[in-house]
């Protein structure tokens, strides 16, 4: 088919060599939950442990120097992948922590200000008053919804949200959602359930008009398309390494330098301090201020190798490749009676997450039949229960694609759906 040499790519992924139930080849359509890892990433991580392992930023001996170097080079490389400076990239354990880091910056600034404690210059942007508004959307992953609910519960701020159209797009008709009380707009770049790619320039325009900050949850965009913070116009970008060929246990927060500098810390402890006494502590500059404790250096090195892998493929080609599979999936599903796609059926501004329900069949049962034939999909609420509620479903079956998938995999999915219908007689 397409722009990527899938056979060559597959050869880099050891797990794709294994068989699953009934000795079937693994058709992995769950990269939206987590991607598989190529040798290059696993080898980079292992090389770190076998040759350079030490606690970074905490020693003067040779290993500590090498480890620190490897860690900071990884930071710079990953930052450059999204068009950012190394100093503006913070490592977290996953995207969820990255989003919480920003929500807790609001909480901590608000509380410290109330208790008249020292705050960095510029922190006023993070101090909330009762009645201030946080704006999210109805299509958020729980990771970009619950932290903001919690923030509101603890500060008296009010959560508001942009609803969804029947087609699975943001309903931007209510302009009053953006108003002078709006402090931050937190939304996803691509919905992990609907596949919708949101119109970020429009959101940026509305948010800027009321001087609100913008956090973009890029879990489903950075791995799948070219993302460049130098042109996007948002203030924060959050995503996870494990969905983009990287190791588990590492996520990223990019923030505008002036904003990171204005934020109080979240998790506190070693390596994020300047001077500590029993009576009080001053804090280091970003990104260190937000990286308390011994960090996941090996995982950073692994993620850096993942970024290199994707860079060689080219993110535009990755997106084009996924687009082909998305198109075939939607067409295939549309041809099956009783199947309803949840999310946009047109292919414009749409990623490769395709969710659907089958009349008279529960997704769990669909998933089971697919699994029996080697096709691994995700079933359930996809950490996006409000989306399920919005579209009147209890759960959905979801296929997500990545660089190691091809049209044969799409076909396996479609066949599996037929098989499930047959098995249950619907």
């Amino acid at each position: 088919m397409s722009t990527l040499d899938v056979a060559a790519i597959r050869a880099d992924f050891p797990i794709l060599k294994r068989t699953v139930r009934n000795d079937r080849r693994l058709v992995y359509l769950d990269s939206g939950a987590t991607s598989q890892k190529p040798y290059q990433v696993l080898d980079a991580e292992r090389d770190f442990y076998e040759n350079h392992n030490a606690a970074v930023h905490r020693g003067a001996h040779l290993l500590a120097e090498e480890a620190t170097d490897a860690f900071e080079h990884a930071r710079a490389n990953i930052a450059s992948f999204i068009g950012a400076n190394a100093d503006d990239l913070v490592f977290t354990k996953n995207a969820t922590e990255a989003i919480n880091l920003v929500s807790y910056a609001f909480l901590n600034a608000t509380l410290k200000s109330a208790h008249k404690k020292a705050l960095p210059p510029g922190s006023e942007r993070f101090i909330l008053k009762v009645g201030d508004e946080i704006l999210v959307t109805e299509m958020e992953h729980h990771a970009n919804l619950v932290p903001w609910q919690e923030l509101c519960d603890k500060t008296g701020a009010v959560l508001r949200w942009i609803g969804l159209t029947d087609e699975g797009r943001l309903d931007l008709s209510d302009e009053t959602l953006f108003n002078e009380r709006t402090r931050i707009v937190a939304l996803t770049h691509q919905s992990n359930l609907l596949g919708t790619v949101n119109d970020i320039p429009a959101i940026v325009k509305s948010a800027r008009a009321v001087d609100a900050l913008i956090l973009l949850d890029s879990c489903q965009s950075v791995p799948h398309m070219s993302v460049d913070v130098s042109t996007l116009g948002v203030d924060f970008l959050t995503w996870s390494g494990h969905k983009m060929l990287g190791p588990l246990g590492i996520g990223c927060l990019w923030g505008r330098a002036d904003l990171l500098a204005a934020m109080p810390p979240f998790i506190t402890g070693g390596s994020m301090i300047e001077v500590v006494s029993m009576a009080g502590t001053t804090f280091a500059a970003p990104p260190k201020r937000f990286e308390a404790g011994v960090p996941m250096a090996a995982q950073a090195v692994g993620l850096s190798a993942a970024v290199d892998y994707l860079r060689v493929l080219g993110m535009d080609k990755v997106a084009a490749h996924e687009h082909e599979m998305t198109k075939a999936t939607i067409a295939g599903l549309q041809s099956i009676p009783g199947v309803r796609i949840i999310g946009p059926e047109d292919l414009v501004d749409r990623g490769s997450a395709v969710s659907f329900v089958i009349e008279g069949l529960h997704p769990h049962d669909v998933g089971q039949v697919l699994d029996e034939s080697g096709v691994a999909v995700r079933v359930g609420q996809h950490c996006a229960k409000p989306v399920c509620t919005r579209y009147g479903i209890a759960a959905a079956t979801r296929a997500t694609y990545y660089i190691y998938n091809d049209l044969d995999d799409v076909e396996a999915l479609i066949e599996g759906v037929h098989a499930a219908k047959k098995f249950f007689g619907v």
Partner: protein, 146 residues
């Protein structure tokens, strides 16, 4: 295909024609249990009968396994006392999580759920209604202190 082990005919029958589905108006305790990863939900009510047994009613949505399991639970547990009902729950847990041999006297059609044990992610579906019953019965004070 091992699939038929889990989806035995008798399971699919319960799924398609569930027994006892529908909530009683009267109840002493009501619980709502969910399986947050997959969206299975059950609302379950209990009330005590004069003879010390417990009558149960439920409404639910979910996959074939959780729905069939609820139907089987109704057959097996409705109008049992707490001790016997709890015994059935324990027995189901033992069969699904510790591969113990099932006893048809206790589980009835529930022995057909044995194939679920091969699919750990589905065990939760099968247990959901039974655990809801136990929770409701305890909340209604039907568990006697010893």
């Amino acid at each position: 295909m091992k699939l038929e082990n889990m989806y035995q005919e008798i399971i699919l029958d319960h799924y398609k024609r569930p027994h006892g589905k529908g909530l009683n108006e009267e109840f002493q305790a009501e619980v709502h249990h969910v399986n947050p990863t997959c969206g299975d939900e059950i609302t379950l009510r209990v009330s005590g009968n004069e003879d010390g047994t417990i009558s149960v009613s439920y409404d639910n949505q979910g996959c074939s396994i959780s729905q069939a399991s609820a139907s089987i639970m109704f057959d097996q547990i409705n109008n049992l006392n707490f001790e016997h009902g709890e015994g059935a729950v324990e027995h189901l847990v033992a069969m699904l999580q510790r591969a113990e041999d099932p006893n048809e006297d206790v589980l009835g059609d529930g022995i057909a759920l044995v194939g679920v044990a091969q699919y750990p992610a589905r065990v939760k579906c099968a247990l959901l209604p039974w655990m809801a019953w136990k929770d409701a019965a305890i909340q209604a004070g039907m568990k006697k202190e010893k």
